[in-house]
Symmetry: C2
Subunit: 121 residues, 2 copies
DNA sequence: CTGATAGGTTTCTGTTGGAAACCATGTATC
DNA sequence: GATACATGGTTTCCAACAGAAACCTATCAG
């Protein structure tokens, strides 16, 4: 049962999908939505350092890819909630694994960088 | 046992690590090295679409982070082999999971894009 | 001396990223 | 009525980065 797709091929559509996933902000947003819907400005505050433009763009891309949904509430001021879709939820474990790896192995990476920089000079 | 790091904080070092991992080419390289050492030009040919410059840069960053090792053989012409380090090997399952998700769920993503584009117009 | 191979670096240019300003809407404040 | 604040964005500007293509160094084959 071979997959009909090969991610190593340039024109394979899986490349586009990987490209979307291989984005720091997209990963952080997906991870942040794990526990339920979150509003725009709440995301902006939680994910320190993201700009409004990039948050807006990234949310749009994720929505287009069917990974998150956008719901507008006619409150005042208007409220917009973003949530994972069923498809998006199938990704969260993998995304969380990446984030967890980063947290768990950060010391090793920092040590490696230090060693590399002191030798390579 | 709380982690001392919070990936949502802007100046947290885990952000740097996530940043490195959130790179299409880095993920493809790490995945490609799963089965053993590979030479520079072999990588270039296998990972269709990558340029020499980007391959060279990405390999350097991964080496600096301690995820891959670089070994030069004084053959003629010189041969350079890249391989996963122990640290890099702890990542491969997660990376493979991402690539596998992309291959498995690509149809759903493409369908979502089509639906989004036809409505949003 | 032309070409091929290996592993890069350099140059140029178009796309992207982030910072900051701006905008529309409505509500509360003075 | 002017001022300020909140929401959820868009626009503008500039610096950084990505990719394509050319170039480089070295060695060997013909």
């Amino acid at each position: 049962m071979d997959q009909p797709y090969d991610i190593y091929q340039e024109r394979c559509p899986t490349r586009m999908v990987l490209d979307r996933l291989a984005d720091k902000w997209a990963l952080l947003i997906l991870d942040r939505l794990r526990d339920g819907p979150v509003r725009f400005n709440h995301l902006r505050r939680d994910i320190a350092g993201i700009s409004q433009k990039v948050l807006s763009q990234t949310l749009k891309k994720l929505e287009r890819d069917g990974l998150i949904s956008r719901q507008v509430f006619p409150t005042v001021p208007v409220t917009v909630e973003y949530a994972l879709t069923g498809l998006g939820r199938t990704l969260t474990d993998t995304v969380a694994a990446l984030a967890h790896w980063a947290e768990a192995n950060m010391d090793a990476v920092l040590a490696a960088q230090k060693a590399y920089d002191s030798i390579g000079r």
